[in-house]
Assembly symmetry: C2
């Protein structure tokens, strides 16, 4: 195939995007009909040989639509952490199969501490009490009458990508396994600021203890300043009522902060003047540092990115072929303003295109065109947010934490591309 030379953006075959779009260069991934043994230009080439679905009336649709049965492998994958804790389970999003920034609700990740409770919404109550002027109780119907806001925002488990934090050698796993504890949806609910005003929260109430109605009552302490800032009691996800897996009939949603503080099945907010030091916040969600000190209440999720196509355990079908490299970036602190990509193991970097709207504390999709020359190489991405925060290398991240620490890992991710097209997780 003849192809004009494409302007380079960096080493390893990265292509300068604007020049590329203006160049009129063909990507030559499609099959010319002439090569497929058909005359071109042609009459409808399928007319003489139509598949059976073009010859019959189609079937009935359904009241609640579902995915194609041909996409049955695109599901959440589960892990039960340890024997004796069957209530603790993680359900990971297939982010390698996703495009855009919205995660379909049926594929949104979940981590359950005590299994999935079956709550009757007619009997569920939310109570605000403690350091308040008026302790209040809301049933679902009354809460639905309050003013609501909607925002597209990510949610990430503090333990996402733990395998790369802990494993001495890079495990050969896919993006879902490594990065599947992060998703992004449109969340709609009642601002906490409004409910707190209604209850008359006292100035001495610097903390709140949020509790879920799951068996075991998952509890977390949060500073009230964050609740006043941008937290909501979420009632809807992607336009429909929350699903059981996301806390039906209501959850706390705390933008940009580690997922476990967005307490699902929320039934109680107790305003206090100090944290409760609950089991989970003193144990699982405290970070042990390299010098032995413990970091508590490490809420905000760091700047992070991952190339999702191609990614671990995928296969590039064609050497010397054109590919669009793409992935996701996010920051618990605000907007993503830059994603750099390297196709030569970090020797040179090029700015990827950010697909708008780039929303705060939301996924941002990035892409860059790539002409693979068929040689082994390493792909990497590095995101920067509006506050200038960026991603550390794995070595830098490891220096700060104890060897067995795994929460809040957000180092630059590297994928090794082998000559045969296999893509593999690697520590660059």
């Amino acid at each position: 195939m003849t192809r004009p030379p494409l302007p380079a953006a960096a080493g390893g075959g990265l292509i300068e995007r604007r020049s590329f779009l203006a160049s009129g260069a063909r990507l030559a991934v499609a099959i010319p009909l002439a090569a497929a043994g058909m005359p071109a230009p042609a009459q409808p080439p399928l007319a003489a040989n139509r598949p059976e679905w073009m010859k019959t009336l189609g079937g009935a649709d359904q009241a609640y639509g579902g995915p194609s049965p041909h996409e049955g492998e695109v599901v959440r994958r589960t892990h039960t952490r340890a024997a004796g804790t069957a209530g603790f389970s993680t359900w990971r999003t297939p982010i390698q199969d996703q495009r855009g920034i919205i995660t379909a609700s049926g594929l949104h990740f979940a981590v359950h501490h005590n299994g999935l409770p079956d709550i009757d919404p007619a009997r569920h109550r939310l109570v605000l009490h403690g350091l308040v002027e008026r302790a209040l109780q809301f049933d679902v119907e009354r809460l639905l009458r309050y003013p609501m806001v909607s925002r597209v925002q990510f949610l990430e488990c503090s333990g996402n990508t733990a395998a790369n934090a802990m494993s001495p050698t890079a495990m050969d796993v896919n993006a879902q396994e490594l990065f599947g504890e992060v998703s992004c949806s449109e969340w709609t609910g009642v601002p906490l600021a409004l409910l707190m005003r209604e209850a008359g929260v006292k100035p001495t109430a610097s903390w709140v203890v949020a509790e879920g109605a799951d068996g075991g009552s998952h509890q977390r302490s949060l500073p009230t300043s964050k609740l006043l800032d941008d937290a909501i009691v979420a009632l809807y996800q992607n336009g429909e009522r929350l699903r059981p897996s996301q806390g039906y009939p209501m959850r706390l949603f705390v933008p940009g902060w580690e997922g476990n503080v967005s307490v699902k099945w929320l039934h109680r907010l107790e305003f206090t003047d100090q944290p409760a030091y609950t089991k989970d916040e003193s144990g699982l969600y405290s970070e042990v540092l390299a010098d032995g000190r413990i970091e508590r209440f490490s809420f905000a999720m760091g700047v992070k990115s991952v190339i999702t196509h191609p990614s671990g355990r995928q296969l590039l079908p064609e050497p010397n072929g054109f590919y669009e490299l793409g992935g996701l970036a996010w920051s618990g602190h605000g907007r993503i303003v830059r994603v750099e990509v390297s196709a030569d193991a970090g020797r040179s970097w090029a700015d990827a295109a950010l697909h708008g709207p780039t929303l705060p504390k939301a996924f941002t999709r990035f892409t860059i065109p790539w002409q693979w020359d068929g040689k082994a190489t390493t792909l990497m991405s590095r995101a920067t947010d509006e506050h200038g925060r960026t991603q550390p290398t794995r070595a830098t991240w490891k220096k700060r934490y104890a060897a067995h620490a795994f929460n809040h890992y957000h180092a630059v991710q590297a994928w090794r591309v082998h000559k045969d097209g296999r893509v593999e997780n690697t520590y660059a």
Copy 2:
């Protein structure tokens, strides 16, 4: 309950939003715990009397999550237009149960001309031919390698709200029945501009005929200028591959234009120098005007809005109560810049708050606080887009079209609120 007076934005109880938020006024919809027979401030009021789901370990989640069984009434509703045309069916979105701007994919409306084909993606092909330098064929895998874009955009059937166009008296139906042929999703796919460059579409190709692979081959003619502007071959909806109901494995997506031109199960694009005048574009989707002339190729959807809460056949639970009025606005021409709401049958209007981001050719959510005085009244909304286009009254719209015309109806919608709280469709 004591309550400070709330600043009015217009007649009928509409409240000025900023003053209201700054006022510290309580909405008093929640139940004070003291009134509920519990001491306040209190220890966890549910501690002594926990529901059964707080006393046991929860159940297992599922690989592909679904809605709560308690929300089983929130589904698409179907209509089969006429006996003998069983292949034609409509599936309407429950927009009265939606918040935010994203429609969950399982609830996205659909109109099928020939039923739902069961397509094997491995055997599906997209062909570009006709007035091109190189006729091209794409299988799904190759098309997935092309650069893609994502956009949140609405899709609306040209016949949405037909009942209010045609029926001499206002039918007492809900918002789903009247307005359910519009939805909004994040659509991801390959820009037509890229595929057209690849095929070398000739300058004489001013039209394209798009054909679906359904039995019956739904066909529409479109100007190539629109395809070059912003149309895509959509492969993903809300982060996952298109569902069968939306054209799996691929559909044309033509932003802002009547839904039937976004041809589902797309398998052929023939570039031509004139429209094909296919069955549907000469019949169902041509508009008969009041003077007997026929308007063909009336593609763009007009500016439109509807209050979804409260809306038809709902019941306001409390006279003299606080409510947030809210709804959706959209325009096939661009962004929504203003939505006015009236709570006194159009005598006075107040600007509703628009919830950002306000994206072009997408749903925009609007809200305004409302203190209902318990008297019968009429609620209305009127949207304006960035080009200054706005909504006509029903009478103005009717003047332009023949009595039996029903496509492209986008007049101001009115809901009558009765003294007993019932909400009913009305022609104001």
